[in-house]
Structure formats: C-alpha cells, structure tokens
C-alpha cells in the first residue's frame, strides 16, 4: 500500500498542473500581504470607521494574526477549486491517458488501488494547506508581527489575547483539512464517471460553487436545505475565533463560543468524505474498464 501511495504521489507531483495550485496560493497571499503592508492603514480605517466614532482603539491591530484571518476568509472559499484540479483527475486522468486498464492488471485489488489514489489525493490536499499555513500564517507573522487579535464580525467585535490565538489557528487549519478532504473526496467520486479530466474538474467546481451560493444565500426557503449541504459546514473553522463571555461580559480565555458547532460540522464533513469514498468504491468495483 505504501509503495502504491508513493507511486500515486509521484504521478501527482510529476504533473505541472499540480504546481498551479501552489503557485496560485503563493501569488494570492503575496498580493494581499503586499497590499496590506503598503496600505493597510486605509483598510483598517475603513473597517474601524463605525467603531472609532465612539471608541479609541490603540495597539497593533493589523498584525500577522489578523492578516492571516483575512486571507483565510478570502482563500478557503477558492482553495477547493484548486484541490479539484488534482482530485478530480485521479481516475479520469488515467482513463484519459489509457493507463487505467494497465494499472488494474497489477496484482492489487481495485479497493487497494482506489484507496492508494485517495490517500495520495488527501496528502496533496494537506500539503496545499500546509503551504497555505506557512505563507499566510507564518509569513504574515514575520511580515506584520504579532499582537492581540481584533476581529470585526457583522454584529460584534472579538478581542483575543495574543497568547490565546495560535492554538485557534492550529484548530482552524485542522478543520480546514477536514473540509478540503471532503472536497477531494467529491472530486475523486466524480472522476470515476468520466474518461477525461475536464468533465469531473468542472463538475466538482460547479457543485462547490452552486452549494456555496445556496449556503450563503439568506432566503428563508433555502434555510431548510442548508444544514444538509457540506459547504454550509466548511466555514466551521471560523468558530475557533469566537470566544465565550461570562455573565459580566468578560471573555473567557481559551474558550470557544460554540464548540458543538465545530463538532457537528466535523462529523458532517467526515460523513460526507466517507460517503463519497464508499460511493466511489462501489461504482469503481463494478465499472467496465474500457480505456
């Protein structure tokens, strides 16, 4: 199994397409960091316009922790599209090149082969997230320094102590890994049905875009289906940055406002991932390999 995963990883990283995702993430993060470094004050003034009419806010608000949060908000919606580039190509790519039949001649069961491919897709996903974490979190910490984290939400503001932030990022990236694995599983599932890469890649992207729009649309009729869409739960990482307060409105350091939401979202994502993989397995095991 280990050698099979190695082979699959070799195939992934041999393709130039793989590096598009890493390059895109680096470019996007670089652009945002550059912009905020150069004109972060204007951005902050705009954000704080409402608050600063009644409060004096002192301190290094635009620090690495906040910059990373801003970037994750922007990027984690689009990273699934980059993951689809590889995950949705895992089986259909082989079919397209005519190597799938050759691959299945090997003395391994279809389940083992599929599992190896899926593990390789997950490793690629995790590596992309680690890359994102290195650039967005550590890069921003290096460029902007660290301080307390001042988060402006729609109806309230959260101030997290500097010492109370880093573990939240570990949790958030851990959660993002779960969410992105679900995306990889979806792409992987769709790749069983096609004999070229474009179809499943576009299909995965379309499903994610469609579901994300439904998840964010605030029309009551769609609220019924929202809990069943995995995209609704993909933004659960933000819950790590909301803190509980006690009766006298003091933030409780080390707490999370709604930990049950994180647990629920994680379970939904894991269930989807398993569901997609099992469905892939069922289809693939009975599939006629003609290419």
């Amino acid at each position: 199994m280990f050698s099979l995963v190695q082979v699959e990883l070799y195939k992934i990283f041999k393709r130039p397409r793989t590096y598009i995702a890493f390059g895109a993430v680096a470019a996007l993060i670089g652009i945002i960091q550059f912009g905020l470094k150069l004109d972060g004050k204007s951005y902050l003034d705009f954000m704080l316009n409402d608050l600063s009419s009644s409060l004096e806010i002192d301190g290094k608000i635009l620090n690495g922790y906040l910059v990373c949060y801003v970037m994750l908000q922007l990027l984690l919606v689009h990273v699934p599209l980059l993951i689809a580039l590889i995950a949705a190509d895992m089986i259909s790519g082989e079919a397209n090149m005519g190597t799938l039949r050759l691959l299945l001649i090997k003395p391994y069961s279809r389940t083992t082969l599929l599992l190896a491919k899926f593990i390789a897709a997950i490793i690629y996903t995790l590596m992309l997230l680690v890359w994102l974490a290195i650039l967005a979190l550590f890069g921003s910490m290096l460029l902007f320094g660290t301080d307390d984290m001042f988060l402006l939400k729609t109806s309230y503001v959260v101030l997290l102590k500097e010492s109370d932030v880093f573990w939240r990022y570990i949790g958030a990236f851990g959660f993002a890994a779960l969410a992105m694995t679900t995306v990889a599983a979806l792409g992987f599932f769709l790749s069983v049905f096609a004999e070229n890469s474009i179809g499943p890649i576009v299909a995965t992207m379309s499903v994610i875009v469609f579901f994300t729009i439904l998840s964010t649309l605030n029309i009551p009729i769609f609220n019924i289906i929202k809990p069943y869409l995995f995209t609704t739960h993909m933004i659960g990482w933000k819950e790590f940055f909301d803190i509980k307060v006690n009766a006298s409105n003091e933030a409780i350091i080390g707490s999370i406002q709604n930990p049950e939401k994180i647990v629920k979202a994680s379970l939904v994502l894991v269930a989807h991932t398993i569901g997609f993989f099992v469905a892939t397995l069922l289809v693939f095991r009975k599939k006629d390999i003609l290419s």
């Binding site: 009644s54 004096e56 307390d148 309230y156 964010t216």
Partner: protein, 222 residues
C-alpha cells in the same frame, strides 16, 4: 438681601470646595500605576487586560495595555480627574447635597466659560469631608455624556482612586456582511431592549501600585 448674601455664601462654598479638591489633586505632578481594565460593551467580547496608566501635569494621560490592543471610550483623556478641573475658566454652581449610595455628597456643577470648550457641563459629586470627587457626570459636545464613579483607598491623600468606573454611550455596531465576509451569519435582529443595552458601555479600571511624583519621560505620551 439676606437670600442674595446666603446664595453668594453657598456659591463661595462650592468654589472653595473645588479649590480644596484641586489643591489635593495638585499634589500630584505625575504618576505611573499598573492596573486591570475590564471593558463591558455589549457588542465587544474582550478579556480583562493588564494596563499601565501614566499621568503628567497639566493633562497628559495615557493608558497602555501591556503588549496588546486597548479599547477606550472616545474622550478617554477624561478618565483622569485632574483634567476635569484643570482649568479655572468655569462657573461653579452649588446644587445642594444628594445621597449617592450610603453617602451624602455635595453636588457642584461646573459650566465652562469658553464657548469653544468641548465640555458642556460637568456635575461633580464631592465628599466634602475628604475633598474627594466620588462621581462625575460630564456632557460633551462631541462624545455625549459619560459618568465616572470613583472608589478611594490608600492614595486618597493625593485624590487618586483605587477604582474608576467609566460609563458612556456607544453607537449601534453593525458592519455589512460584504465587508466582514460573513455571508453565513444567521444572527437574528436585536430586540429594542437589547439595542438600548448595546448603546451603553462601561470600562472599569482598578489601579494598583501607584508611583507618585517619580517623574515620567514625555515620550510615554506620544
């Protein structure tokens, strides 16, 4: 004539009382203190923070949070008492005696003579015996009305409080979802009572370890 003389005497009393309070505060050229600041504003979730407080005559005042972000009500300079009565350019009006909690306090209103002053009126509730301001309600042109409640302890001889509670009005906070990128926010609209509560803010500062008249570099206030 008698009534006129009596009211003049009371007015002079109020001015004398303010002078006594001012004399006490003027014993302090500068101070540095450590403390703890608690911010209680309905739409802000903030932990208690350790702070350092600096004051230098005539009205330099700075609160610094130890390695962090601090939130202070606008017009936070007025958190210190000296700046309330630093100028002599105001008219003093005696408003009698009022019960505040268990204490009987003398109420004195200060009306600035300058039309350009941001302060419209300050009402001071003074402990006559100790010459200490225990409560102050100040209405400003720019920043609304704020109330300060003071508790005194070891440094009452200097007129320096152990605890200051600062109550003020805030504006409703709401940012468009397009800015916060929280499209998934499913929070329900606030009730009228919650909205009213949201408009009140409270900052509580507990002072510890005053270091009085030991000198403070001017750079601290930059």
């Amino acid at each position: 004539m008698f009534i006129f003389c009596a009211s003049l005497a009371i007015a002079q009393d109020a001015s004398q009382l303010i002078k006594k309070v001012k004399a006490k505060l003027e014993l302090v050229d500068n101070y540095e203190a450590t403390g703890v600041m608690k911010t209680d504003i309905a739409f802000i979730k903030a932990p208690i923070g350790k702070i350092k407080i600096y004051f230098k005559k005539p009205n330099l005042f700075k609160i610094k949070k130890e390695g962090g972000i601090s939130l202070l009500p606008k017009g936070g300079l007025s958190v210190n008492l000296s700046s309330l009565i630093a100028s002599s350019n105001y008219t003093t009006i005696d408003a009698g005696v009022q019960d505040v909690g268990t204490k009987k306090l003398r109420v004195v209103k200060l009306l600035p003579n300058e039309e350009t002053s941001d302060v419209v009126i300050s009402t001071l509730y003074i402990n006559e015996k100790e010459s200490l301001i225990e409560k102050a309600v100040t209405t400003t042109k720019e920043n609304g009305t704020y109330t300060m409640l003071m508790n005194y302890g070891a440094y009452s001889n200097y007129g320096l409080p152990d605890k200051v509670v600062f109550e003020f009005n805030t504006k409703n906070y709401k940012l468009p979802k397009g800015i916060t990128l929280e499209f998934e926010d499913d929070s329900k609209p606030l009730s009228a009572a919650q909205q009213l509560k949201n408009k009140k803010g409270r900052v509580e500062i507990s002072y510890k370890n005053y270091s009085v008249n030991k000198g403070i570099p001017a750079a601290v206030f930059n």
